[in-house]
């Protein structure tokens, strides 16, 4: 038995683990086509993270719901303040439609917030991925299957649990949202990763009794202010794994104002998926233990201990940071065209040389589980690996 000090025992741990033999073929049989991407591992079960129940419930679950409530609470403030809408670079043409989607109470399905957390001390919010969050299948399904398999094989201690009610909560949400039928799901045609995420949601929705159908984003039709599927039927409801800030710049954007389509996520999510929400949260709750100091960027040189990122960006693209000891790191990307914010740098904790980020899920308004990403740099990117976790006391 390894001797573990009391302090370490209470901490979040990274534990080496034997991958299930042949898991790749098994993954593919379950529709997980992107477990390895460009020859690099994405799903990585050579290790897992272990948390105590207290860490999960107090430091992550409660904090997630609190941060979520704080974010929703900001929406009326933003809608009432043109200057804030300017700061968030919300297109003037769509402000009315956005406000209307909020006042009408257009439902929201899910979101993921990225947290820095090392097992002790308050988790810090890095950003809200509240419009097109991914890694859903990995978290809600494949991680869950991994736990069940490893328990069955005796590779994990009996009684090991997981903070992962994602699929249960999504299923309930689809059953309760009273979505228009049929309900369409869309993603960019060439992204197998996005198709995987959308297929998973379509699968869950179908299990909840929703008449769900897939349509490639490029195939959506438009006529007289409505959107149409390939059969020529109006699209009454649409889940889109494609950012609002892109949609609103495209040829069919105008019909967002006139169509009868119910969108998931709703247009008002454009406010929360926006990195500008971070300085606004800080302005309203300065010094909050789960927030990092954030400001709208003034274009000046980045000082030590700060990070700069675009209002709209994905997968770590266009992020620049300067560590406390002056080391500069940056990630290129295609998002140079939006304004930026800067955020106090809270370096990701390092476990065996891996930098670890926690993605904490929200379904409706409830915390619904976590997924863990690891990268060999301080910036988490699309190439970062996904690792499973357990809860064990």
């Amino acid at each position: 038995m390894p001797v573990v000090s009391a302090v370490t025992a209470a901490n979040m741990k990274r534990v080496q683990s034997t991958p299930r033999p042949g898991w790749q073929a098994y993954a593919e049989s379950l529709g997980f086509q992107f477990h390895t991407i460009d020859g690099e591992p994405y799903w990585d079960e050579s290790a897992y993270y272990q948390f105590s129940l207290r860490q999960i419930e107090q430091d992550l679950e409660d904090v997630t719901e609190q941060l979520h409530a704080m974010a929703l609470d900001l929406i009326p403030d933003i809608l009432a303040d043109e200057q804030k809408l300017d700061q968030l670079a919300i297109p003037a043409d769509y402000r009315d439609a956005l406000a209307e989607s909020w006042r009408r109470g257009d439902p929201h399905l899910y979101g993921r917030m990225d947290l820095v957390y090392d097992g002790s001390g308050p988790a810090k919010l890095l950003e809200l991925n509240y419009d097109t969050p991914t890694s859903l299948y990995e978290t809600g399904f494949f991680q869950w299957v991994w736990l069940e398999d490893q328990l069955m094989r005796g590779e994990l201690p009996a009684g090991a649990d997981q903070f992962n009610s994602l699929q249960d909560k999504l299923e309930q949400a689809f059953a309760n949202l009273a979505l228009p039928q049929p309900f369409h799901f869309t993603s960019v045609r060439e992204s197998i990763e996005d198709k995987g995420t959308v297929d998973y949601l379509l699968d869950i929705a179908t299990q909840s009794g929703v008449d769900g159908r897939y349509i490639a984003l490029e195939d959506i039709g438009s006529l007289d202010g409505q959107y149409y599927d390939l059969q020529g039927e109006p699209i009454t409801g649409l889940f889109k794994l494609y950012p609002w800030e892109f949609l609103l710049e495209e040829a069919f954007a105008e019909q967002v104002k006139t169509s009868q389509t119910l969108w998931l996520e709703p247009l008002w999510k454009l406010l929360l998926s926006n990195k500008g929400i971070l300085p606004l949260l800080w302005q309203k709750h300065p010094g909050h233990p789960n927030l990092l100091e954030s400001h709208f960027d003034n274009g000046s040189a980045l000082e030590k201990g700060w990070l700069r990122k675009p209002l709209f960006s994905r997968e770590g693209a266009n992020i620049e940071l300067v560590t406390a000891d002056g080391k500069r790191l940056s990630e290129p990307g295609p998002y140079q065209d939006a304004p930026f914010i800067r955020q106090g740098l809270q370096p990701l904790p390092s476990f065996d040389g891996n930098y670890t980020l926690i993605g904490s899920w929200v379904v409706g308004d409830s915390a619904a589980g976590i997924g863990i990403r690891e990268d060999n740099s301080l910036i988490t990117k699309d190439s970062s690996r996904f690792l499973p976790h357990i809860i064990l006391d």
Binding site: L247, E249, R314
Partner: protein, 205 residues
């Protein structure tokens, strides 16, 4: 317990590979003509030629591909080859190509003297093979010799007998709907990434 009670999938586990319908499908003989006179010149009864033509003409208004304006239509079918469609959109009429010929799926009773082949028997009545509905044909701007269906399926390069797969020439109502208006940012950013020899895998976050 902090995890889902169950996590089942009902759609994502891939089903057996579906064979494309149409593979191994038997071709069927049809007759293709520019107009009624040409049909009759191929030794078909003029009355039957006329009846088939009228049937195709009626389908023309339903099946012809629709365009937002004359310019877009003529880009595909050539100058002066388009006419207004019955439907209107917010800023004017839809346009559609003129009918340039027709395909008779029914037997034209007189018999095929020119080809000298045995007549194919009409099997559609038995239901074992889908019939080919009589329908209008079009010619594109770039290729004035080929007869095409409303859904751009090439069927013949000259009048007379042609062989088609029935599933390829099933009529569909014209699509008035424009497509391809979403996804442009993805394409543009993909291009930007390609210049950096990188690839955008996902539009999620």
């Amino acid at each position: 317990m902090k995890r889902s009670k169950k996590a089942a999938l009902i759609l994502m586990a891939p089903a057996a590979t579906l064979l494309l319908a149409g593979c191994g499908e038997q071709e069927q003989e049809v007759h293709v003509f520019h107009d009624v006179d040409e049909c009759a010149a191929f030794y078909h009864p003029p009355a039957a030629c006329q009846a088939e033509f009228e049937q195709a003409q009626a389908m023309h208004t339903q099946m012809a591909p629709r365009y937002q304006n004359q310019l877009e239509c003529e880009a595909d079918f050539g100058a002066g080859q388009c006419e207004t469609a019955p439907e209107r959109h917010q800023s004017g009429s839809f346009f559609m190509p003129m009918m340039m010929g027709y395909m008779a799926g029914q037997m034209l009773n007189r018999g095929n003297l020119a080809g000298g082949q045995a007549q194919p028997t009409q099997q559609a009545a038995g239901g074992s093979r889908p019939a080919v509905p009589t329908q209008p044909l079009y010619k594109s701007r770039d290729d004035r010799s080929t007869f095409r269906t409303a859904s751009n399926q090439a069927v013949a390069s000259q009048p007379g007998v042609a062989r088609v797969r029935p599933s390829a020439v099933q009529p569909q109502r014209a699509q008035l709907v424009r497509r391809g208006g979403f996804g442009q940012q993805a394409a543009a950013r993909q291009e930007a990434m390609r210049r950096d020899a990188r690839r955008q895998r996902s539009y999620g976050s």
